[in-house]
Every structure is written in structure tokens, then in C-alpha cells.
């Protein structure tokens, strides 16, 4: 199935998403911030990137912008637990920077899998 890179600074969330995706047969790699994620992207090809927004080292919006520039074909889902006012505060800019889908934390498994399926369905 698809190769998916997941970036989040919260290890529990990383592992949870990994489990959810692996259950439906995807190959999953993990990174704990944008910098690590970009390094991983250099080493192998991915079909989908799932990234958190608020992270140390390199935050999500910046990461999305860079990824979009370097890998125009890579699909992106942004996830966020919220900003100052609203969970979607950082998600709208993420969409602007090029994320195809946005998901608010906390999300239900179905939400995530639906979004993944939608983006990868065409392949």
C-alpha cells in the first residue's frame, strides 16, 4: 500500500497514528519534528505526509511550505490541537500553504482514515 510519513512531537500520537494506518496496511515512518521529517524525505519516496503544526525545531507550516516546493506531488494532511483561539487557527494557513486536508485534534479514527483514503484513492 502507500508509504506515509507522520510528523508530530507527541510520541503517543505518533504511535497511535502509526497503528491506525498499519492496521489498514500502509507503510508508516515517523519523525518528531519538521527537520527530521525533511531529512527522512530525502532518503526515500513517500505518497503522503501527515504533519502536526506546533512543534519544536521546525514547525508544521514551514515544513508544509518547504515540502510543497520540493515535492509537488506529495499529498499532505495537516493535524493540529489548536492555536490561541481555535483548533483550526493554524489549520487554515496550512491549507493555504498547500495541505490538501486538515484534521482537528482530537480526531476519531474514521476521520483520519477517510482523509487518507480520499487522498490516496486516485492511485
Amino acid at each position: 500500500m502507500a508509504k506515509i510519513l507522520v510528523i508530530d512531537d507527541e510520541p503517543y500520537i505518533l504511535l497511535m497514528i502509526k497503528k491506525m494506518l498499519e492496521q489498514v496496511g500502509h507503510g508508516v515512518d515517523l519523525a518528531s519534528n519538521g527537520k527530521e521529517g525533511l531529512e527522512l524525505l530525502l532518503t526515500r519516496p513517500f505518497d503522503l505526509l501527515i504533519t502536526d503544526i506546533v512543534m519544536p525545531e521546525k514547525e508544521g507550516l514551514e515544513t508544509i511550505r518547504e515540502v510543497r516546493k520540493k515535492y509537488p506531488g506529495l499529498k499532505i494532511i495537516a493535524i493540529s490541537g489548536g492555536g490561541r483561539l481555535d483548533s483550526s487557527e493554524y489549520l487554515e494557513p496550512a491549507r493555504y500553504f498547500g495541505a490538501e486536508k486538515i484534521i482537528k485534534k482530537p480526531f476519531q479514527k474514521g476521520e483520519l482514515l477517510n482523509a487518507v483514503n480520499e487522498l490516496l484513492g486516485g492511485e
Binding site: M16, M20, G81, L85, S87, F107, Q108
Partner: protein, 660 residues
């Protein structure tokens, strides 16, 4: 004769060293030197003063001169007709003429010389008698009459010294001439008489001199006194003038001051508006940052809980109890998610709405949030006085203030841990305390104390902490607006902040907020079964606390409630919207209007309106009155909510016709 005035006065014993010295000619006694200008005035004045006594002395002179006619008849009967002729035809008519002339307006300038002449004339009369008598009797006895005339002239007539002296010596001189050339007076007799005459003359002169001097001194003193009085009067007038001027000035200043105060008020209002706008922005920033931060962390925590429980549930049999348990966890996580959304929504409420708040509830709520976000090395202590009264404030702003201070405490203790202590008490501020804390005034306050055991502040920092954009935190930690926002909010509530801090020993912030109402009463108490409804109620009570609680409770039961604390406003509201209301709930004793009177007035518009009266004393309203006013129910304070809800239901469900 060259005596100085002071010597004369001292010698005569009438000089008072404290008095102004008289400047007079030693012989004529006319005013000289600096007092020369007094002379004319003095003479006018003297005339006015002596004219009465002078007239009296003339009458007295006529009586004396006439009464001696008896002596003539006894001592020298042979010559009595000649003597009587002298007395009654020559002398007395002259004196009488002088008396009459004294009433004339023109006599004033000539009075003194005329008196002098009259005195001499009377003397001349006696001398004539002495000459006649000397032809018949050896001894001269009438010379004593001359002495009487001298004394009388000098002492009684008020003639001036100079004129009296002139007349006196003329009389003596004339007698000498007559005695030497016209009579054969023995030498011894002449000596004898001269001794008496001269002595009498000198004594008379003294008396006359003293009298005139005394009159002049009186005049000068009076004049000086008048001058002083004039001066005092002038000073008074000046003072009055000055007072008037100052008053006018004060009025002007007052007016200017009033204007300035108005302008300042205006500016203050403008400033308050701007501050409110700034606060709005700061609020979005501050609360947003804090609540958002908490929300973010919560969401991150909730995400795996939600995800894993879901996955676990999928793997478990529908019937298994474990699946049921996990489902509960999953539901709880979903509830948590909703709660976080609520917090975020709440933090966006930017409208400031001041209402009476019990801070114990608000602080409890905030501290629950704080506890959730503080690390475990910070211990949180709370002492909230449950009887603390209300403050008039906006919940969001109170959140902002306390959150801000707690966040600061957190930053102060994050490295080494410590204790955050939050206290809520009531505090009466006296004049002494008010003077010690800036912006604090005398009165009753609700005091929120937030203290930490963190790194504290030095004096210089403490002085600047309320300035916007002043921060000791690292860049990126807090906006730098925090404490200035706190300050602005507290100030807008007419409250004050007191800060105590020592480097290394922690900081204490005391927030004084004016107490608005008393502590929670047990007005609505129990938790029994409540009866609900959807009708609209007008709730009137002059105690704001009761109306607010009433509103809260009745709205929880589903009713629509309009509360009024002012009877006049309540009447206006009812008149405008009387169709809306199903029930009037009103206190009985209120300013301006009794509850029963209000009910009667409302019933004139809406005869079917239901009425419940609340009262603290059962005897403030009689059952006859209830009957008469057709009050549906009477409820006594304190109210049990369950009972109150039943009463309301009962009244609303009553048949209208039964009330009518």
C-alpha cells in the same frame, strides 16, 4: 516763659506719656507747628461745646449780681439806689444782651472778646460801687466782690485763657487806679487787697489755662481717634474690597476648575474607551494564549485516548464488559474535547459585561484550569472565604486578572518549584491603609491575594511591572502586556493592587475590588424536586442580589425572567410590555412603592395578571390586605427554591376566573 509743651503737661499732671504731645503756644494756647491746622476747627468745635454751659453761666452771673442788691441795702443803705442802678440798669442788661446775642448766628467769632468785655464791665460796676462806698465808710468791703468776679470769669464762663487773663488784669489795674486816685484807701488796705486780687487772678489763670489746655487736648485726642477710626474704616473697606475681589477671583477660578474637571472627565471617558479597546485586543492575546495553550495540550492528551479507545473497542466483542468500560473512557474523552472547545469559545467572549459576581465560584473555576496546567513541583493552596460578598465585574476579565497573576507565579517558580497560594477574603480598608496603597480608598473590599514562593523581584522591577511591554521573562514567554492589563482591569473596577516582593522570597499580589453586595444568603437553599415552566415573569426587588439569584434560579426552571430593582423602572417596563407577562413576583417593601400598590396599578392594565408578593416579615402585610388586593400568594423569605417553584406553578396554573 519758655516751657516746652511736654514740660507743661507733665507739670500739670495731665500728660500721659502714651498720648500724643500737644503742640501749643505756651501763652495763647493756640495750636502751633504740626497742629496749627487744628486751630480753626478747634475754635468751631469749642464754641459748639461751650455755648450751653456759657449761657448757663450768664444766667448764674445775673442771679449772683442781682442777689447782692440785698447786701447793698444792709451794708450801705444810703447808697442802695445808686448801687441798684449800677447792678440792674448798667451791668445786668449788658449780660442779658450778651445772653440774647449768644443765640445769634453771627456771635461766634466775637463771643470770646465780648465775654471778656462783659467780665471787665461787671468788674467795673463793682469798682464804681467801691468808689461810692469809700466816701461814706472807712473800710472797703466790696473788694471781695472783685475776687468773686475773677473766679467766676476764669472758671465758669468758659472764656479762653487769653481773654480771661486780659479782662482779669484790666480789672485789677482799674481798681489800682481808682484806689490810688479816686479814693483815699489806706496803704495797708491797698496792700491787703492787692494780695487777694493778684492771688485770685493767678489761681483763676491756672484754672482757665488748665481748662483750655484740657479742652484742646480732648479735641486733639478726639481728632486722632476719628482719624484712627477713619483709618480702620478705610482698612475695613479695603479689606472688604479685597474680599470681594478675591471672591470674584475664586468664582472665576472655580468656574475654570469646573470646566477643567469636565474636560478631564471627558478625556478620562475617552481614555477609558481607548483602554477598553486596547483591553479587548490584549484580552484576545492574553486569554487566547493561555486558553489556547491549555487547549492545545489537552487536545494532544485527548487524541491518543480517543484513538486508542476506538481501536481497542474495535477489537473487543460487543458484549464484553471491557469494551463497555473502554467505551466509557471514549465518551469521557469526547466530553473532554467538547469542554476544550467551550474553553476556547469562552476565551473569545470579548464583550465586557459587569454584573455581581461571587469570586469564590469564579476563582474555583479558574484554579481548576490552573491546576490542570501547572507542573507537579508547584503546590497549589486555596483559602476561599465562602461568605465573601460580590463584586461588580466581568467574569472574563476576572479570569484574565487571576490567570495572568497565576501565570506570572508559574514563571517565577518553574525552575525550583514552590507554593502558589490563592486567598479570598473580605477586607475593610481604613484611612491609614488607604493612604498606604496607591489608588485605594476607604471602604469595604473583596481581597484576592495571590502569592508565590518564586524568585521575587527587586524594587526597580516592582516599580515597573505595570508598564505595558515591560517584561522580565524571556522573549516569547508572555506578551509583556500581562500586568498592565491586570492593572487596567482592576482600575476600571475602582480597585487597587498592592505588590509585595523580595528577591528570592517570592511575590504577593493583593487585588482589592470594591465589595458590591453581601455574601451568599440562604435565600434559595434546597435541592428538592423543582417544578418548571415556560411563562414570563417580572421579578421586582430593590435588592440586586436577590433579583440576580431569582433570575438565575427561575431561568434554570425554564421561565423567562425580567428583573427590576427600581420600582419606577418596573412600572415603565410593565406599561410598555404588559402583554408579555404572566406573573409579577415582587418584594412588598421597596422605595417609592409597595408591592401591593404595584400589583393594583398593574391589574388596571392587565386584570388577569398573577401576583406573588415576597416579604421578610409576615406582619408587614395583613391577610385582609391580601384579600383586598387579590394577591395570589404570599412568600416569606428565606425562600426554599422547591417550594417557590411549586408556588409559582400553582399560581400560574390557577383558573383566571377564580382570581378575578
Amino acid at each position: 516763659m519758655k516751657l516746652t509743651k511736654s514740660e507743661i503737661l507733665t507739670f500739670l499732671g495731665i500728660r500721659n506719656p502714651a498720648q500724643k504731645e500737644l503742640s501749643v503756644h505756651p501763652v495763647t494756647l493756640r495750636f502751633t507747628g504740626e497742629m496749627e491746622h487744628f486751630e480753626k476747627d478747634f475754635l468751631d468745635d469749642y464754641f459748639k461745646r461751650i455755648i450751653g454751659p456759657f449761657r448757663f453761666s450768664l444766667l448764674l452771673a445775673i442771679i449772683f449780681y442781682g442777689s447782692f442788691a440785698a447786701l447793698d441795702a444792709i451794708v450801705i443803705p444810703e447808697l442802695k439806689y445808686q448801687f441798684w442802678f449800677i447792678r440792674f440798669v448798667l451791668v445786668i442788661p449788658v449780660i442779658l444782651v450778651l445772653y440774647i446775642l449768644s443765640y445769634s448766628r453771627f456771635i461766634k467769632n466775637y463771643l470770646q472778646p465780648l465775654v471778656s468785655v462783659a467780665m471787665y464791665l461787671t468788674g467795673l460796676g463793682i469798682i464804681a460801687m467801691i468808689i461810692y462806698a469809700s466816701r461814706i465808710v472807712e473800710r472797703d468791703t466790696y473788694y471781695a466782690g472783685l475776687i468773686l468776679i475773677l473766679i467766676f470769669g476764669y472758671a465758669f464762663t468758659r472764656i479762653r485763657f487769653i481773654y480771661a487773663t486780659l479782662a482779669g488784669w484790666l480789672i485789677v489795674g482799674t481798681y489800682e487806679a481808682a484806689a490810688i486816685w479816686l479814693t483815699q484807701t489806706p496803704t495797708e488796705q491797698l496792700y491787703n487787697n492787692n494780695f487777694f486780687f493778684i492771688s485770685a487772678n493767678i489761681i483763676g489763670m491756672f484754672i482757665c489755662y488748665l481748662m483750655e489746655l484740657s479742652a484742646r487736648r480732648d479735641y486733639v485726642m478726639r481728632h486722632l481717634l476719628e482719624e484712627e477710626q477713619d483709618k480702620v474704616k478705610a482698612a475695613n473697606e479695603m479689606l472688604e474690597h479685597r474680599v470681594q475681589e478675591r471672591t470674584a477671583q475664586l468664582t472665576r477660578t472655580n468656574r475654570a476648575l469646573k470646566k477643567e474637571i469636565e474636560m478631564r472627565k471627558h478625556y478620562e471617558q475617552e481614555q477609558a474607551k481607548l483602554e477598553a479597546q486596547l483591553l479587548q485586543l490584549q484580552k484576545i492575546e492574553t486569554i487566547g494564549t493561555l486558553a489556547g495553550g491549555i487547549a492545545h495540550d489537552f487536545n494532544n492528551i485527548l487524541t491518543p485516548i480517543l484513538g486508542y479507545t476506538e481501536m481497542a473497542m474495535e477489537e473487543l466483542d460487543e458484549e464484553s464488559t471491557l469494551r463497555y468500560d473502554i467505551e466509557q473512557i471514549n465518551h469521557a474523552a469526547i466530553r473532554g474535547k467538547d469542554l476544550v472547545q467551550q474553553i476556547l469559545t469562552f476565551s473569545r467572549q470579548v464583550e465586557v459585561e459587569k454584573k455581581p459576581l461571587y469570586l469564590q465560584e469564579v476563582i474555583q473555576e479558574i484554579m481548576n484550569l490552573v491546576k490542570a496546567s501547572f507542573p507537579s513541583n508547584i503546590e497549589i493552596k486555596m483559602d476561599l472565604d465562602p461568605h465573601c460578598g460580590t463584586v461588580l465585574a466581568d467574569t472574563t476579565q476576572i479570569h484574565q486578572v487571576i490567570m495572568n497573576l497565576c501565570t506570572n507565579a508559574y514563571h517565577a517558580m518553574i525552575d525550583r518549584g514552590g507554593i502558589l497560594h490563592v486567598r479570598l477574603t473580605e477586607k475593610e480598608v481604613d484611612a491609614e491603609k488607604a493612604a498606604a496603597v496607591p489608588n485605594l480608598e476607604k471602604g469595604n473590599y473583596v481581597l484576592v491575594t495571590i502569592s508565590d514562593t518564586g524568585h521575587g523581584m527587586d524594587h526597580a522591577t516592582m516599580n515597573r511591572i505595570f508598564e505595558p511591554f515591560f517584561t522580565k521573562k524571556e522573549v516569547g514567554v508572555g506578551s509583556g502586556l500581562g500586568l498592565s492589563v491586570v492593572h487596567g482591569i482592576v482600575k476600571s473596577y475602582k480597585g487597587a493592587i498592592e505588590v509585595e516582593s523580595q528577591p528570592g522570597k517570592g511575590s504577593t499580589f493583593r487585588i482589592y475590588l470594591p465589595r458590591h453586595g453581601k455574601g451568599p444568603s440562604d435565600l434559595f437553599t434546597d435541592k428538592e424536586v423543582l417544578e418548571k415552566g415556560k411563562e414570563t415573569i417580572l421579578f421586582v426587588d430593590d435588592e440586586e442580589e436577590i433579583t440576580y439569584m431569582g433570575k438565575k434560579m427561575l431561568e434554570n426552571l425554564g421561565y423567562r425572567v425580567n428583573i427590576q430593582t427600581d420600582t419606577r423602572k418596573a412600572v415603565a417596563e410593565f406599561e410598555a410590555n404588559h402583554d408579555k407577562y404572566d406573573l409579577l413576583v415582587t418584594d412588598q417593601t421597596m422605595p417609592h412603592m409597595l408591592g401591593t400598590d404595584m400589583a393594583r396599578q398593574f391589574r388596571q392594565i392587565r386584570p388577569d395578571l398573577k401576583v406573588i408578593i415576597i416579604t421578610g416579615y409576615s406582619n408587614s402585610i395583613s391577610s385582609e390586605m391580601l384579600e383586598k388586593e387579590k394577591i395570589d400568594e404570599l412568600v416569606l423569605k428565606p425562600i426554599k427554591l422547591s417550594e417557590f417553584s411549586k408556588v409559582i406553578r400553582r399560581v400560574l396554573d390557577k383558573d383566571n376566573t377564580a382570581v378575578m
